[in-house]
């Protein structure tokens, strides 16, 4: 019984530890300044390739696309958004309200361009 209690004490310690660290997360206030993501699509290649970008919930995001031909971006939020861009420069404006990780993909090239960490 003594030993069981010791195990119980450790468990409680773990729970406390976890809850304390959970509350210690830094709060990142979402701002109204847009986050700019520069995307270059050229010769079947996309830059960036799978980078993480931190954004706030509801914060405006400007996807500045420079492309050699027109195409479509998929934003894997819920519901999914499909955004068309033209050859040359296009700025696509989005905002994501629900926290989580949202992938932005090039439809034509089947490539993940950025993963937005929305918090």
């Amino acid at each position: 019984m003594q030993r069981l209690r010791a195990v119980g004490a450790v468990l409680t310690g773990v729970a406390l530890l976890a809850s304390v660290t959970a509350c210690g997360g830094e709060d990142k206030a979402s701002s109204d300044d847009p986050v700019v993501v520069k995307i270059t699509i050229k010769d079947g290649k996309v830059d960036p390739s799978g980078d993480r970008v931190d954004v706030g919930t509801g914060q405006p995001i400007d996807l500045e696309v420079t492309a050699d031909k027109p195409g479509e971006l998929h934003v894997h939020s819920e519901p999914e958004q499909q955004l068309e861009y033209a050859a040359g420069e296009t700025t696509l404006k989005i905002a994501i309200d629900r926290p989580g990780v949202v992938a932005v993909e090039s439809h034509e090239l089947d490539q993940i361009i950025v993963q937005l960490e929305v918090r």
Binding site: R3, A6, V7, V10, L11, G13, V14, A15, L17, A18, S19, T21, A22, C23, G24, G25, S49, G50, D51, R52, H76, S77, E78, P79, E80, R98, P99, G100, V101, V102, A103, D110, Q111, I112, Q115, E117, V118, R119
Partner: protein, 441 residues
């Protein structure tokens, strides 16, 4: 998006990664608890050998769950679910909103695990392939328990391990996991294999070779329910866990389950995304190789860790891994909770809404078409992250205790503490690795 199918499967938005502090404190907690268990816990086996039959459950519950009518009702429920799924698969459209995908990847693969952990061996009770086999046997005037041949016990769980690998391969390493035709084909092969196997080997085949029954029944050993001398009893999951038989292929099953879940986390990390996108080798090949490496690594690490423990009764070293493999089951459950909880709640709810309109014609057969997930956990990421870490750490603690208990009956007296170290190190590595994946996902 007629026919055009996304390569990355079901579920749009993913969970935020857990914070580094939380991952590290979880790993430290796992380490501390492991050694506490090793040093201060009991030093004679408590659960091994069935000294804990458990308390009899409420008499009404015992009568109801033990009655033939209850068994028939569950079989009927299983058949209805299966037929509805077949209807969605055959008559529905090849779009992600077809409920078939949610039923297959979320209700079946994840929901079955949660249901089994809470209620016991669910798949055994509702399995439509068992029901079909029983129906065919009845028509032929034979006994469904008896096949033409006896199931070769040397095969053990190996066919189930293969079947489970086939499932995770379809989900994680195949190019078109959400194309109706391929998932339907997978199901057809599954049902075909199960019916042929059942006809040849009888019901024993399902216990050993049906991937879903093996998975569900292993997880059910973490539920508080058991039948002891025919009576329904409530007992510690640790007592249930110790009754998992050290069958051949058990290590392969837990290796596939743990390794594939780890790979599912890993493939969302920036590291992996960059690797396959910047590589000249096709993503499918890389995914296939990585899935295999994860599964083999999990199985081999565990095998090495347990084979390095000394054994008292002249048990061959290669027999040791399967003697300890039951202890990995709680780690798997903890990691499944951490990894799939939100998928189950959110996409599971979405699937219920879609199931009301199986053909995409605007119907509302079940009256659930308007149900929408609340995404509560998305808006409370700290709560979610704490649940994930607690689930992983708790799974680890139960695993460490189960392994400790088994070690006491296998280890020679003089090696009782030091002998456990290799396995303990592997377990801590699994847990720390799992937490790091949740951090980088």
């Amino acid at each position: 998006m007629n026919g055009v199918v996304e390569a990355h499967g079901i579920g749009g938005q993913a969970d935020l990664p857990i914070s580094l502090e939380l991952a590290v404190s979880g790993a430290v907690a796992a380490l501390v608890v492991s050694f506490t268990v090793l040093v201060v816990a009991w030093n004679r086996p408590r659960y091994d050998g069935g000294q804990h039959p458990g308390r009899p459950a409420w008499a009404v519950l015992d009568r109801v769950t033990g009655s033939p009518a209850f068994a028939v009702a569950l079989r009927a429920l299983g058949m209805v679910l299966a037929l509805y799924t077949v209807f969605c698969a055959v008559a529905g459209q090849n779009v992600l909103t077809n409920p078939f995908f949610g039923i297959f990847y979320v209700w079946w693969w994840v929901g079955l695990v949660f249901a089994s952990a809470l209620l016991g061996p669910v798949w055994k009770a509702i399995s439509p392939v068992r029901t079909l086999n029983a129906a065919i046997a009845r028509l032929a005037g034979s006994d469904p328990d008896q096949g033409v041949l006896a199931y070769p016990e040397r095969l053990g769980y190996w066919p189930a391990a293969l079947g489970l690998y086939a499932f995770v391969w379809l989900e994680l390493a195949y190019k078109y996991p959400t194309e109706l035709g391929s998932v339907r084909f997978w199901c057809a092969v599954y049902v075909g294999a199960m019916l042929v196997g059942g006809a040849i080997f009888g019901n024993r085949f399902y216990e050993r070779a049906d991937p879903f029954e093996v998975y569900s029944s292993l997880i059910a050993k973490l539920s508080p329910w058991a039948r002891h001398d025919g009576r329904l009893v409530v007992r510690s999951p640790l007592a249930n866990l110790s009754t998992i038989e050290p069958t051949p292929g058990l290590v392969a099953v837990v290796g596939v389950l743990f390794g594939s879940t780890a790979f599912d986390s890993f493939r969302e990390s920036t590291f992996w995304v960059k690797t396959f996108q910047d590589s000249s080798i096709s993503k499918v090949y890389l995914d296939n190789a990585a899935l295999l490496v994860f599964v083999l690594t999990a199985g081999l690490l565990f095998s090495i860790g347990s084979a390095l423990t000394p054994s008292a009764e002249g048990l061959a070293r290669r027999e040791l891994p399967r003697q300890y493999a039951h202890s990995i089951v709680p780690i798997i459950l903890g990691y499944i909770v951490a990894h799939y909880l939100t998928l189950f709640i959110d996409v599971g709810t979405q699937t219920l809404a879609r199931a009301s309109d199986p053909l995409g014609k605007g119907w509302d057969i079940l009256g659930t078409a308007g149900v929408e997930p609340s995404y509560w956990f998305s808006y409370h990421p700290e709560v979610l992250a704490s649940i994930k870490v607690l689930a992983v750490v708790l799974g680890h603690v139960v695993a460490a205790v189960a392994a400790h208990d088994r070690a006491l009956s296998l280890l020679p007296k003089r090696d009782q503490i030091t002998g456990q170290l290799p396995l303990l190190v592997v377990m801590v590595a699994f847990t720390a690795g799992g937490l790091m994946l949740l951090f980088s996902a």
